[in-house]
């Protein structure tokens, strides 16, 4: 349904863009109806840029974003915009502080000038869907908790009856119980409403439990992409392994030191070879000269030494 094909995003003025490293570099993936796709990676890796490019909030450098084969350009009609909704990381700025919940939802349900036509019924329905009591309708965001605000944000997204919901780090500022409730809502959106969900997160344990497919990004590129179970069973990219190993676990099986802490040199690596090379314990001569391609049918990995572990090497 939602198809992102060879998407690149570069920031800066026209002159700066020519020299700059793209924030998003040749990213291809799709989100199908009823599917939850996880997008993981450390901060600054381009996750949010992808989200904002998909909704048309940042200009697409190259590549195509399409919904059911219908290409979405930079200027989108009202109806086109409504098909992809977004829920944001910071519940503090995601709701207009001056508006009551009812007004926010009514305007989201009917974006024209005639929001007065929206019945209280619709607002109450939306609140019920996200598990909030009807009294919340009269409140302004300042009176709500972070979890409640995030649920209102989900309700606002649902008001547009979207095909795709992009959830950008939606639980990272919430406590565990509020986070659980919001994650349940995302599941509900995919199963009951049949919408696709793009779940952006840096928290692998959440992604593992929630997502059907998982995409791992590093410095603007997809380094691994697979059905979630596959990815966690047999991670192919050393970066993915490092991420998985960094999640505290009871039955930890260590694969050796994969990640070198070497951020400073990482920037220089962009031009040639593998971007992950400066931090990779497996890096060889090949990694410095040839940029690995993303290969594989269902389980794709971008690495010359895919599925090689440091222990075997040694």
């Amino acid at each position: 349904m939602l198809e992102v094909d060879s998407l690149s995003v570069t920031y800066g003025s026209r002159r700066e863009r020519r020299a700059a490293v793209p924030a998003v570099d040749d990213v291809t993936f799709r989100v199908d109806r009823g599917q939850i796709v996880g997008l993981v990676g450390e901060s600054g890796c381009g996750k949010t840029s992808i989200a904002r490019a998909i909704v048309g909030a940042v200009p697409v450098g190259s590549g195509v974003i399409s919904l059911d084969g219908h290409r979405l350009g930079p200027r989108r009609s009202s109806a086109e915009r409504r098909r992809i909704q977004m829920v944001f990381q910071d519940p503090g700025t995601s709701l207009d502080p001056r508006l009551t919940v009812a007004r926010t939802l009514a305007w989201a349900a009917s974006p024209g000038l005639r929001a007065g036509d929206i019945a209280d019924e619709t607002v109450a329905d939306l609140l019920r869907q996200v598990g909030l009591p009807p009294e919340v309708a009269g409140e302004r965001p300042a009176k709500l908790s972070g979890g409640q605000r995030q649920r209102v944000a989900v309700a606002r997204a649902l008001a547009a009856e979207p095909d795709v919901v992009i959830a950008d780090e939606v639980v990272s500022s919430l406590d565990v119980s509020a986070a659980g409730a919001v994650l349940d809502l995302l599941r509900m959106i995919s199963t009951e409403l049949g919408a696709g969900v793009l779940f952006i997160s840096h928290d692998l344990s959440v992604v593992r439990n929630l997502c059907h497919r998982t995409i791992v990004m590093y410095r603007g590129q997809v380094v691994e992409q697979a059905p979630t179970a596959d990815l966690f069973e047999k991670p192919g990219h050393p970066y993915t392994r490092a991420l998985i190993d960094s999640v505290p676990s009871v039955e930890r099986r260590t694969t050796g030191p994969v990640l070198r802490d070497d951020d400073a040199r990482a920037d220089d690596a962009a031009a040639t070879g593998c971007r992950f090379r400066p931090r990779c314990a497996l890096a060889t001569h090949e990694c410095a000269t040839d940029q690995p391609a993303l290969v594989g049918p269902a389980h794709q990995v971008r690495c010359h030494h895919a599925w090689t572990t440091a222990l075997e090497e040694a």
Binding site: R82, Q85, W107, A108, P111, R156, A160
Partner: protein
């Protein structure tokens, strides 16, 4: 110390006195009583009388009418114009924003007060030339504030969310961006009214403001300066009123600026 509550009281009193002048003023503002000229404050004439025997209190109430009726549009028209231009520039961006930024830089370099006086001198006395001069010189600060505020607000996620809900961009601007940008503008508006009051009174003092026969605080002070040695009261009351009003507006403006949501 919080001074703004006093400011609110003073402004409210001034506005009430101005609005209700026709009913509250003890004498008609132009009525001359040549048997009672240059009087000190008394029970009949609370603020005394002027050299033509006119009641100073009554004239002050009508002067407040004149001044407040000028001050609100003198700050309000630049507020609307500058706010809209600066806000729209920041919201739309691109060449429009670049152009507005240049215009702001050019106007910023001009000595506003000098030009204002010059403009009024060229355009002639009267309310309309005052308002034209204030608008030409005053919109710049409002445009600057609006530009800064809108650039901040337009990055808030609810703006993007409203756009994604299918709201037309223009409607997003008026529904979400403007209401959330206007706090600083309103704070400056109140401060600016105080400054406009001083400038209008100052221009009238020099005879550049409203026409001579209109009761106006600055003109009253100007008339009183000839009698400063014989009848101090004459200039004292309008002067104190002017200072209090200016301070009140400044204190309210400051309080509004410092209030964070």
């Amino acid at each position: 110390m919080r001074l703004w509550p006093f400011g609110v009281v003073i402004i409210s009193a001034a506005v009430a006195a101005a609005l209700l002048a026709p009913w509250l003023a003890p004498y008609p503002p132009g009525e001359q009583n040549l048997t009672a000229i240059n009087q000190a404050p008394s029970v009949e004439h609370w603020f005394g009388t002027d050299p033509l025997g006119r009641d100073v209190l009554s004239r002050m109430m009508y002067a407040l009418r004149t001044d407040l009726a000028l001050v609100v549009p003198a700050a309000g028209i630049p507020l609307l114009l500058g706010g809209l231009i600066g806000g729209a520039a920041a919201y739309v961006g691109g060449i429009f924003d670049t152009g507005v930024r240049w215009a702001l830089d050019v106007f910023q370099g001009m000595p506003a007060y000098v030009l204002l006086v010059a403009l009024v001198a060229v355009l002639g006395n009267g309310a309309s030339s005052l308002l034209i001069a204030f608008t030409l010189m005053g919109w710049i600060v409002y445009a600057r504030i609006a530009r800064t505020e809108v650039r901040r607000v337009r990055e808030d996620n609810y703006v993007l969310a409203a756009y994604l809900s299918g709201t037309p961009r223009m409607l997003v601007f008026f529904r979400h961006v403007i209401p959330n940008s206007r706090a600083q503008l309103m704070a400056y508006f109140v401060t600016d009214m105080g400054m406009a009051l001083q400038i209008i009174a100052g221009l009238s003092f020099f005879g550049l403001g409203v026409s001579q026969e209109t009761p106006e605080l600055g003109a009253m002070i100007a008339d009183a300066r000839l009698y400063i040695q014989t009848n101090l009261w004459l200039g004292l009351f309008p002067g104190v009123a002017l200072v209090l009003l200016g301070l009140s507006m400044a204190s309210i403006g400051d309080a509004m600026r410092e209030r964070r949501r």
